[in-house]
């Protein structure tokens, strides 16, 4: 694990003023929370999830936040050169990083993303969510469950989150009063139509594998694409994208369902489980273990979907005949035709 960079400025301390590429000065921007994004060339601003992440970040600090604009070519991409003077000022030369300053210009949060790793929007947003005070309540500790438990396979190490330090600092009122007032937990108000932003995206909180993820998506985004492209939960596969192959099977409220045929926005308030959330730590789900034992795959592409359908199926503890298993599993295709072994694996779990 890489050692998290030690900020040149201690968390909670005032960041020294410096010149910004657009000619303004950092100190001129006090009075509103500020996110500085340091982008390296490897960080492709065209990637949709990254754009969506930043749209979400803007929304998060709506009514107060600003990015430091840089001129084109990054027209819609508000970022600072990771090799530039400001990055050096923050001790972040060459690193992809997000830095959050509060209205007073104090350093509140910082995250770096290792080279070659994706930034996981959901985790960053979960961290931000943890910083957000509950409406009308005293600021809660920053380290709440969502920020504390990164998803397996995360590209963002928990050690790069400095939220623990933030918790100690206790003073976390980063948001303006107006923003805080509308911060009702979405699960308490599931029937309210989400208000679209100017670009047509809507805010969304999804509960996936026990964690809450805040996203900003267009209503037409399928759950599958939100999982894969925004949250980087790529265990859920895209096969046909038309509900015919079952590769995208997840559990919605405990039932197997196709992530390619449901809108992400329709899944707020549901309990979503993906293949990443099936094992308990190092302990495989019995269906996963049985698939390994029975060699129930070749190329493996359909396997997450097969396992999600099968693991939902065995919940009722019925003993099904091979014919009944075939019928129940008919929505999952396997081009390698590992069917015999898949059925053997399911039969073993049923018999256990």
């Amino acid at each position: 694990m890489p050692t998290p960079p030690r900020p040149l400025t201690a968390l909670g301390a005032l960041v020294p003023d410096c010149a910004l590429p657009d000619g303004s000065r950092l100190a001129d921007r006090r009075g509103q929370p500020l996110i500085l994004a340091f982008a390296a060339h490897a960080w492709d601003p065209a990637a949709a999830y990254q754009s969506a992440l930043f749209a979400r970040l803007v929304q998060e600090f709506d009514g107060g936040a600003a990015f430091v604009d840089v001129p084109p070519p990054a027209e819609t991409w508000h970022a600072l050169d990771a090799h530039g003077a400001v990055a050096a000022r923050f001790g972040l030369t060459g690193q992809r990083a997000l830095v959050l300053l509060d209205e007073q210009g104090r350093l509140r949060w910082q995250v770096t993303v290792a080279p070659g790793q994706p930034i996981q929007a959901g985790q960053v947003l979960a961290a931000l969510e943890a910083l957000r005070p509950a409406p009308g309540a005293a600021p809660r500790p920053a380290v709440s469950a969502p920020a504390e438990a990164p998803a397996p396979g995360s590209g963002l190490s928990r050690r790069t989150f400095l939220t623990a330090t933030l918790a100690a600092s206790a003073l976390l009122l980063l948001l303006g009063a107006g923003t805080a007032a509308e911060a009702a937990p979405p699960e308490l108000a599931p029937n309210v139509a989400p208000r679209p932003a100017a670009d047509g995206t809507v805010p969304l909180t999804l509960r996936i594998n026990g964690q809450s993820h805040r996203l900003q998506v267009e209503p037409r985004v399928m759950l599958l694409d939100a999982l894969r492209e925004q949250l980087h939960l790529t265990g859920t596969k895209k096969g046909c994208d038309h509900g015919q192959c079952g590769a995208c099977t997840v559990h919605l409220d405990g039932h197997s369902a196709l992530a390619c045929l449901t809108l992400a926005v329709m899944n707020e308030g549901r309990t979503i489980t993906t293949i990443e959330g099936l094992a308990r730590g190092e302990e495989l789900h019995p269906v996963q273990a049985a698939f390994v034992k029975h060699d129930a795959f070749q190329c493996g592409y359909c396997t997450p979907g097969q396992i999600m359908t099968a693991s939902a199926l065995v919940q009722d503890q019925q003993k099904r005949s091979a014919a009944e298993i075939r019928e129940a599993m008919s929505g999952n295709l396997c081009r390698c035709a590992a069917y015999a072994n898949i059925i053997a694996a399911i039969q073993e779990v049923q018999g256990a």
Partner: protein, 351 residues
């Protein structure tokens, strides 16, 4: 997919008003068929009103012995409900012989009868289709019309309705409860769908913004059964299917109601004269063959679908034999195995 706005319904009346107010708005519930068609560019609503927050997920016995199935109940929940299985096995069989486990978990009963045709020309925006684009023509008429209609088609459209459930509901004379801009109403299920005529773009008699709130099954003291022929043993639409509801009096049939699937723009209830042929008679293969011959007397095959006539006749005879007990079901009543001609993967589940 075209962009659209998304709203969550707060009440059936609000949902109905929201859709009624905008010609390009639509309800969405399970979405399994609708969202797929939106991906294909066949449908492009500008507003989707999500009716899943309305619940409508209960199954409640009605006074007099009927059963109310909320429009938001999933296909799986309805199929496995003890009262549905026990009183209306044809409904469970039709549901379980349709789609896949995942789709049955997602799909709603209210949406199921409203799914659009599987005519391949409807689903391909590059082809002319009067249902998709009124006035553009019908590519199926002179095209590959193997899966198309035998009854009630027009020179504008020869598509069939794909729902299995709808066939069972037609045989059982279910009632559709709706809430529309003009208030609530009750529609006999057999009048929910329409024939294509000159306006094949209209699948149903529902007004724009009229929301199905429940499907009500009337009291039924008899045997019901659904039987389906398809090209694959599972997860395929019917080439031809048949739902039978038989009420007996002693050894004689008191009343028979039969609907066919895969043969028309709507679930095809047999003409009253054919159903009447069966009433007062003792079940026999001879009787059923005579009824089947009569049932298909008016069939008008296209170039590639004439095979459906003997297939449909044989299926109808078999469905009547199995429902009346003259021939055993292929699997336990109320399961996909009872409903599937040829079993699943050539096997049938243990009885």
């Amino acid at each position: 997919m075209h962009p659209f706005q998304y709203q969550r319904a707060s009440s059936p009346a609000q949902a109905s008003a929201a859709v009624a107010a905008q010609p390009t708005a639509a309800f969405v519930a399970g979405g399994t068929s609708q969202l797929d068609l939106m991906k294909e560019g066949v449908l492009h609503p500008e507003l989707l009103v999500d009716v899943t927050p309305l619940g409508l997920t209960s199954i409640t016995p009605l006074e007099g012995g009927g059963l109310r199935l909320g429009a938001g109940v999933s296909n799986t929940a309805a199929a496995l409900h003890p009262l549905v299985r026990q009183r209306y096995p044809a409904v469970s069989e039709a549901l379980l012989a349709g789609a896949s486990t995942q789709i049955r978990n997602m799909a709603s009963l209210g949406g199921n009868p409203l799914q659009r045709t599987r005519c391949p020309y409807f689903r391909d925006p590059a082809q002319p289709c009067n249902k998709r684009e009124p006035g553009s023509g019908c590519a199926a008429l002179g095209g590959y019309n193997r899966v198309h209609a035998l009854f009630g088609a027009s020179d504008k459209c020869v598509a069939t309705h794909p729902s299995d459930l709808a066939v069972a509901l037609a045989a059982l004379d279910a009632q559709v409860q709706t809430l529309g801009p003009g208030g609530p109403r009750v529609i006999p299920f057999t009048e929910l769908h329409r024939l294509p005529g000159d306006t094949p773009q209209q699948d149903t008699t529902l007004a724009h913004g009229e929301l199905i709130t429940s499907l009500d099954l009337p009291a039924f003291n008899g045997r019901s059964h659904y039987l389906k022929v398809r090209e694959r043993a599972s997860y395929a639409f019917a080439l031809v299917s048949c739902a039978v509801a038989l009420e007996m009096e002693g050894k004689k049939i008191r009343r028979a109601r039969v609907a066919l699937g895969g043969v028309a723009h709507k679930p095809w209830r047999l003409p009253a004269a054919v159903e009447t042929m069966l009433a007062g008679q003792k079940p026999s293969e001879k009787l059923f063959r005579a009824a089947a011959a009569q049932a298909f007397a008016e069939a008008r095959p296209l170039e590639h679908n004439a095979y459906k006539i003997p297939m449909g006749r044989n299926l109808l005879v078999r469905a009547l034999l199995e429902t009346s007990g003259l021939q055993p079901l292929q699997g336990p009543a109320g399961t996909a195995f009872a409903a599937s001609v040829g079993g699943v993967s050539g096997e049938v589940a243990a009885q």
